[in-house]
Structure formats: C-alpha cells, structure tokens
Symmetry: C2
Subunit: 295 residues, 2 copies
DNA sequence: ATGTCGTTATCGTCAATTCAGATAATTCAG
DNA sequence: CTGAATTATCTGAATTGACGATAACGACAT
C-alpha cells in the first residue's frame, strides 16, 4: 500500500470526484482513477461508489480514510523531524488573539527574531474558535487563545492569567451607574473582538439592552475616548497600571468569575513540536518575576 | 517519501546492515542500498554512517526511525481496518496469564468460538511482563495480565478482582504456624508462576528463608497435596469455594494489601481494536451477576 | 429525440523507476 | 598479502507510472 496512493485517495474522498481531485493534485484524471483502482485491487474492496456525478465513499472507504489522512500527516511530520536538528530554522507559524496576547507577545517576537534569524515567523490572528480550528487543521503549529480549552487532540499550557476591569469616565462612581441607564456605548479596539464579546455578555447579563459601539485603532485613543466620557471599555488591569497613571478614568473591578481570564497556548497532542516553536515558548513563557508582575 | 522505502530503512536500522536487511526483506543488497539512497537524497541528509561492518544511524536517521516504524504499523492497521467490516473473522491473537485468567476465560473461549466460527483464536501464555512486551510489540492484540498496569501506550480495563488465600493442611491453625518453622514447601501449578512469585514474596516478607517447591499439573492434585500436608499453596478464594467443600484443608485469609489481585485486559492505546476482539471482550466482560459471584 | 456537459473507465505509448545480478571498492582480521 | 566481510555502482530487463485520447454513461436543457 503506497502512501502516495493514500494521498490520492484522501484527496478524492475530500472533493468527491476523481476529476476535481486530479486538478487539485496537478495530474490527470486517468492517473487518479488508476491509483485508486490499484488501491482497491490491493485491498480487495471497493473504496468508492461511482456515481454519475462524482464518487462517494463506501463503508470500507470510510474506514480507510482516517488512516490515509494520518499517514499523510505523519509523513509530513517525519520530513520536518528529519530536517529539524534542534537549531530553529524554517517557517514557524503560530496563531494569536489579536489584542492582548499580541501585545504581550510583541517583545517576545522581537527578541526571538533577533536570537533566531533563520526562522521566518508568521503570526496569524483570529478568534479563539478560528485559531483552534486552524491548529486542528495543521494550518498553524499552535496558538495563543482564550482558555481553558478542552479538546481531546489538543494540549494546552497556561501562559498568562489576567484580571479584566471596566474603564469608564472618571465621573462614574460604580458600574451600576452605567448599567442603570440601560443604554451604553462601548469602546473597543477594532481588532479585539474577544474583549468586546466579553463586555457585551457582561452588560447583557446586567440588563443593558441598547449597546452601541465605538471602534478605535490604538489603546491610546480608546483610553482618551473613555476618559472623555464617550463610552466604557474592558481591559486587563495590568495594562492600565503600567501605561496610564493620570487617573483620568475610573477603574471598576469585576467579580472573580467574570474578571479572570487565562491565555493558553494550544497545540496538537500528536504533532511534533518544532525546535523553532520550543524556543519561542521558552522565551514567551513568563518568568516567575514577570508572572508576579502580571498578577 | 515512499512508505516502502521507510520500511526498508527501518529494517536496515534494526539489523544494522544493508546486506542483512536485504535477505530479511527478500530482496538484494543493491536494492536496499538504492532505496536508502533515494530516501537520503529526497530528505537531503545522510541517514546512516557507512561503516566497514554494517551501518549505524546518524542523528537524522534517529529522528526518522520512530516515524518509519509508526507509518509501517499504521499501514498494517489500515489494511486490517478496511477488511474488518464489523463481522469478526480472521485471526485473533490475545495473551493471558496461565492459571487463573485462562481458567476463567475457558468458558468464554468456548462460547466465543461457537458464536464466531470464522475467527481463529490464538491464546498466548506468558508472565505479565512478557505479555505486556508482546502487546507493545504488536505480537498480540491485547492480553489479560495482573494489574494494575501503568504504561503510557497502553489502556487497561479491570476484568476480575479476586481475593487470594493461602491453603494449608487442615491441622495448621494459622499462617504463623507455617512461617515460624522457617522452612516451607510450596505447591504450585507448573504453569502458574504468577501466584508462585506472589506466594514467595509473601513468605520472604514473613521471614521464611528456605522455600522449596512442588509442582503439579492440575488444581486437583495441588489440592490433594496440600490436604496431605505436603505443602501450602495460594489460590483465589472463589475457586476453592466452588470446587471443594470437603474441608480437607485450612483456608487462611491475607491482609487486604496482599490478597487483593486484579486481572486487567491491556491493549495498545493507538491501535485499533478488531471487531473480533471487541466481541470477545463483550463476552468476557463480567456481567453484574457473575461479578458478584466472583467477589 | 437530441445534443451538450460532466462524470468515470479504459487503452496505448513513452518515460521513469525498480529489480536482480555482476562487479568494484573498501576495510578489518589473520 | 589474502580472505571475508561490508557497501557502492553499473547494466539490462521488467515493471510501473503519467499522460493524452477515447469510450461509456447519466443528467439536463433544448
């Protein structure tokens, strides 16, 4: 049983037709047909039901498919493993939530690309859901997402624990003052849909119905907008303390259950971790000192 | 990267020479050399150090080897998975400890082979250690061994829990009477080294130094030997109660920690379970009724 | 009915690969 | 130096693989 045949088979199963698979595999249809047939002859069973409009898997084909995919991935990984001699090089693709993790990762990325100039670092952005899907699809090697993540095929490691706080204009005494009005404008980083979602849920839970949005590109403008009374926002406490000390806004704590947020790094359990990634995590992993500072 | 090449590569790595691998693979040396070389050219690294007396793996080869083995196994399994349509057939090879589990399994085997005549059932015997090695080596699909087993690649399921008791001649009042003498003869089933080991450890712990053995082929003769005062033995309590009620021997209980023994079924976590095995376990799994009887 | 479009199956041709066997080159032991 | 191992290389035959053209089939619109 040839691995290349299995790759063909998987492609056919995926697109549901030998013609379409052929163009995807940069070959001709007769070739695909032939390889599928050799596979079928070798195994002694039909793998596809041939229809007038493409093919569908037989029961035996269904059983074979997961193996075909697994073998293909395993071979990919073997190639990488052989070439990875412990010295980070090549392309490292990781995912990250857009706001906070990216902000925290920036210094890491800077020192990393200096320390390992042979690595082409690619940072993909997305929501937790999107990023997890990409990790599962082998599109990224791992991702920093909003934890906890519970998935059979994934391993997670907690990287940052943070406390979220609500920022309002200085005149606002408590969060109740805001929610009582029943009509709130929230100011969000235009890329930061994670916090936006959390803040919305939080307000909805408190009975706020009319939520409007203001989007700004930088944290600085968000801060100014809040201090000018244009709306409220949600940020990690550690960010405020370190950046603005002018007390132009009010900081409102939230109950433990709502304020605690963890950023975890997830990657596939079965996939090998490249040296490039190992070194990155080593750099990104908070030192005991930094962890204390983040709390 | 061809799977057949990987198989060749793994064989060469295993036997440490292209010549030897060639004869093992039923081909010629030049062939093996060529395929290894294509693999090396494709990956761009040397996989072997060529020596005057065979070859040894390079660092890159070391990294590739586990993948080569894994892929080979995966392909084997894929073949089985395709052919296994849910109807048990073909060969089912399982391992079992020689005494108790085998005794308990006998009725299961009987009804199983009647229910699934298309399955060639092969029962391999061995010690817990040996059987686990065989499971890991894919020699048997799974095995009934003495639990608990803690291994990363294995899954275990408890099948029987039993209480072991010491049997002595009727005149012996307590176990102390035996151990005080400091010279004990133990009667064991000649195949049953598991209990033998347990009994020896138990006696050694109690300060007995001179242990001699008597071996008999059947439980009946062991029982007779014990009742005649020739020695002592160790058996599951459930076996005694159900077989002999003539009170010709004394039964001595043991402390919880020493008497409790569990028989577990272990199989590889990553390997697929054949329909044949699934059905076997379904039959072997103790019903609530039988479990109560065994306690 | 008929033609068109999209599908898979099949065939012949040619190139590439693979195999087996023979031979060379190397190294170590005696 | 010779002999017994080893791996490397070469060669011709056989096999396999890809390709392109064509056939066969069904669906759908005209």
């Amino acid at each position: 049983m040839d691995a290349a045949d299995l790759k063909f088979f998987a492609a056919v199963a995926k697109v549901g037709g030998m013609n379409r698979a052929a163009s995807k595999l940069n070959t001709v249809q007769s070739n695909v047909t032939a390889r599928v047939r050799t596979l079928e002859e070798e195994l002694g069973v039909a793998l596809f039901h041939r229809g007038h409009n493409g093919v569908t898997l037989t029961a035996a084909g269904e059983r074979l498919l997961p193996y075909a995919i697994k073998v293909t991935h395993l071979l990919d990984e073997a190639r990488k493993a052989v070439k990875d001699d412990g010295e980070p090089r090549g392309r490292l693709t990781i995912g990250s939530l857009e706001t906070n993790a990216a902000l925290r990762l920036l210094p890491v990325i800077a020192s990393y690309s200096q320390a390992f100039p042979d690595v082409d670092l690619v940072l993909r952005s997305g929501t937790t859901h999107e990023l997890i899907a990409q990790v599962l699809a082998h599109t990224v090697e791992g991702a920093f997402v909003c934890g906890p993540v519970d998935h059979q095929d994934l391993v997670e490691e907690v990287f940052f624990r943070e406390e979220l706080v609500v920022l309002t204009a200085r005149t606002v005494r408590s969060l109740d003052d805001v929610t009582r009005k029943g009509d709130v404008k929230i100011v969000v980083h235009h890329q930061g849909c994670a916090y936006r979602q959390i803040l919305e849920n939080l307000l909805i839970k408190r009975g706020v119905v009319g939520i409007r949005h203001l989007e700004f590109g930088t944290l600085e403008t968000i801060y100014r907008a809040v201090s000018a009374g244009l709306g409220i926002t949600l940020l990690p406490r550690s960010l405020i303390g370190s950046m603005w000390r002018d007390n132009a806004v009010s900081v409102h704590g939230l109950p433990e259950a709502e304020s605690r947020i963890t950023t975890v790094f997830v990657h596939r359990q079965d996939a090998l971790m490249s040296s490039a990634l190992k070194e990155f995590l080593k750099l990104a992993r908070p030192t005991p000192l930094r962890m204390r500072a983040a709390e």
